[in-house]
Amino acid sequence: MDFKLNDDRRMLAETLERFLADNYDMEKRHGFAMQEAGFSPQMWSEFSQLGIIGALFGEDVGGFGGEGADLMVVFEALGKHLVVEPFLPTLLAGTVLAKSGGNEALIEKTIAGESMLALAHGEPSSRYELNSVETVAKQDGDSWLISGNKSVVLGGGAATHYVVSARTSGETDDEQGITCFLVEKSDAMRIRNYSTLDGYGAAEVTLENAKGILLDEKDKGCSLIEQAYAHGISAVSAEALGAMTVATELTVEYTRQRKQFGVPIGKFQALQHRMADMLIEMEQVRSSVMNAVGNLVSDRKLREREVSACKYLVGTVGRQVAEEAIQIHGGMGMTWEYSVGHFAKHIIMIDHLFGDTDHHLERYIALGQDL
């Protein structure tokens, strides 16, 4: 048993944290989010040069990381600065590409910051159900033509390449019959680009006979998507942990400075104990993220149970931390100008990615029933 980071990861963490401290304050972050792409292409290129994009991929596909602990280190640091560059979309689509094999050239260009990836899986009526796919793919000679609507595609506006799930057999909610395709951006796609409430790029994507290359085996794509989501959930949970850490630090610091009734409000026990509870619960989240990232390579059932447990806890504790951070700040926590509200927004909106607390609690129970 060992909970420490090895030297490589400690260096990765230090490099990234130093870079973000120097280049990514809240004002700059808002500026990046306002750029046309929804992030800063310039920063993306710098992240690439620092090796941070490569840290999302294993050595077998040309990266220099890719393990759970790498994801935890990178995304926790990203969460502390609310980084808007598309790491999460890259990880999601990249995981499918890496696991299906034969995509080394594209991954190489992604790590170099030249190609941009997105996973187009969710649909207007799928909510959080992994199996719910209506988009269809029809074979056309050697290639496939894909048609359908994909909803809230993270990084969907800026992507050059999409991993698209489509039904190749079975009914809408069947686990079998979902296949993953690689689709290069083309005129056969309509992309409606927007920014999420917490400032991240996403898009509604409509495909009309878009040309796709088959990834991995036909009809077996659901397992690839599930693994991509497992990585995405672990990563975004670490990101939430980073954001919660900063939200709590800001809150504690604020109670030191802010005076009412002639004393710093941090002297009031009613606030102290709630902040102590925030720390206690965040320690639970840290352990849960470790359980998730540490089991990404485990058997499916154990992996998915830990992932759902983690996402449930992140959602529950996240809401507590975000709401308390705003409440304890009082009116200041409500302002755009002060940063804590932006952390709170991201923490809360993460609950809407890949299934919320209710979804994952139910899933955790279902996965445990046949253990």
């Binding site: 048993m1 710093p264 102290q272 104990h273 720390l279 206690i280 989240v285 955790y364």
Partner: protein, 398 residues
């Protein structure tokens, strides 16, 4: 990062499990599992089984007859003991007094008292709390006035767990009223058979006699029974509070309680189906299981760090708060799972020889009583509010 136990640790766990299978009598484990009342003899018997194996003093170094185990090994031992339904060891002599004696006691005290704790000659109890000194322990008033070769002790201690069985009590007493309150406290060992010592039971809400009041009326205590220096007792007591981290999170206890809860919930029916399949009840069970699994990892993180030499910090406060919340939630769920059969209660049915037909399932009798009994967990050993104070001071710096 590696979440798995090492091969050695797995071997160790198997060794412990095998020992328990061989040496824990089914009489004892059945009493524990079904919630029967344990007698002094039961506890003495289990101590002696462990002592014969050399596994009684898990927290002691080898030189004093302890196991010398790592923090992780102690945790594994604790988990396996709870899983097997072993009685818990009585911590007052073993885990509370002994570390203080080893660190601050004289050579004579160590040589005299430590072996007697191991072989069961002395049963110890703890004399800290007083009617006017609970969370604010430093306000204690029980006085010890030096007269020649003796201290004359007057005052009252309370909440003395299992003091009715005790031969000795280790006490915090006031030896000075000068200066800071904390600087006038001494650590004194008192023979319970000394004239002037009176024990009165306090019956708790579950009807059980677990704790006591102890009165001291001009009790003569030889000065040789002072541990360390006069007026330094507060330092020793604080050392004691931060010394022991293994059991703080109640992991083994909660593991066993969760297993028991799952069994009850699968046997109890709601609308013809096991209660465990009721979505609302299943959700409550899953929530506490998720919390417990995260706490297990937190606990191991802290234990691994302790094994690498890190000093105890406010982490034990975090473990205490979360660990007791989880344990109490499990008590609440077990009580609810029984439905109406949580209501019947017979004190006699908690006795070993009780032969009458149980009302409801045989494990039901003590469940609601245990729920009430375990309300103590968030109160004792520094209430959860005091733990949050510690976190506020040390981690938040407020």
């Amino acid at each position: 990062m590696d979440l798995a136990f090492s091969d050695e640790e797995v071997r160790f766990r198997n060794e412990v499990a095998a020992f328990l299978k061989e040496n824990l009598s089914s009489r004892l484990s059945q009493k524990v599992n079904i919630g029967k009342r344990l007698t002094k003899d039961d506890m003495v018997e289990w101590h002696s089984v462990l002592n014969d194996k050399g596994w009684l003093a898990v927290n002691w170094p080898k030189e004093h007859g302890g196991t010398g185990w790592t923090a992780v090994q102690k945790h594994i031992f604790d988990e396996e003991c709870w899983a097997a339904g072993a009685p818990r060891t009585v911590p007052f002599g073993l885990n509370m007094l002994a570390p203080v004696l080893m660190k601050f006691g004289s050579e004579e005290q160590k040589a005299h008292y430590l072996p007697r704790i191991l072989d069961g000659t002395d049963w110890w109890c703890q004399g800290y709390s007083e009617p006017g000194a609970g969370s604010d322990l430093a306000s204690l008033r029980t006085s010890a006035v030096r007269e020649g070769d003796h201290y004359i002790v007057n005052g009252q201690k309370t909440w003395t767990t299992l003091g009715q069985f005790a031969d000795w009590i280790f006490c915090l007493v006031r030896t000075s009223t000068e200066g800071k309150r904390q600087e006038g406290i001494s650590f004194l060992l008192i023979d319970m058979n000394t004239p002037g010592v009176t024990v009165r039971p306090i019956i708790l809400i579950d009807g059980e006699h677990e704790v006591n009041e102890i009165f001291f009326d001009n009790v003569k205590v030889p000065v040789g029974n002072l541990v360390g220096e006069e007026n330094k007792g507060w330092t020793y007591a604080k050392y004691l509070l931060t010394h022991e981290r293994t059991g703080t999170a109640n992991i083994g206890n909660s593991n066993a309680a969760l297993e028991k809860l799952k069994r009850i919930a699968s046997e109890q029916k709601k609308s013809g189906k096991p209660l465990s399949q009721d979505p609302y009840f299943a959700a409550r069970m899953a929530k506490v299981e998720i919390d417990l699994n995260a706490l297990k990892t937190t606990n191991l993180r802290i234990l691994v760090e302790a094994d690498s030499g890190a000093a105890a910090g406010p982490e034990s406060s975090m473990l205490k708060v979360k660990g007791t919340i989880i344990r109490q939630e499990l008590n609440d769920l077990a009580r609810r799972a029984l439905g109406p059969f949580a209501l019947p209660f017979s004190s006699e049915a908690m006795e070993e020889g009780y032969n009458e037909e149980p009302i409801g399932p045989d494990y039901a009798n003590a469940v609601a009583a245990k729920y009430f009994n375990n309300r103590k967990m968030s109160i004792y050993a520094g209430s959860n509010e005091i733990q949050r104070e510690i976190i506020t001071k040390t981690k938040l710096g407020l």
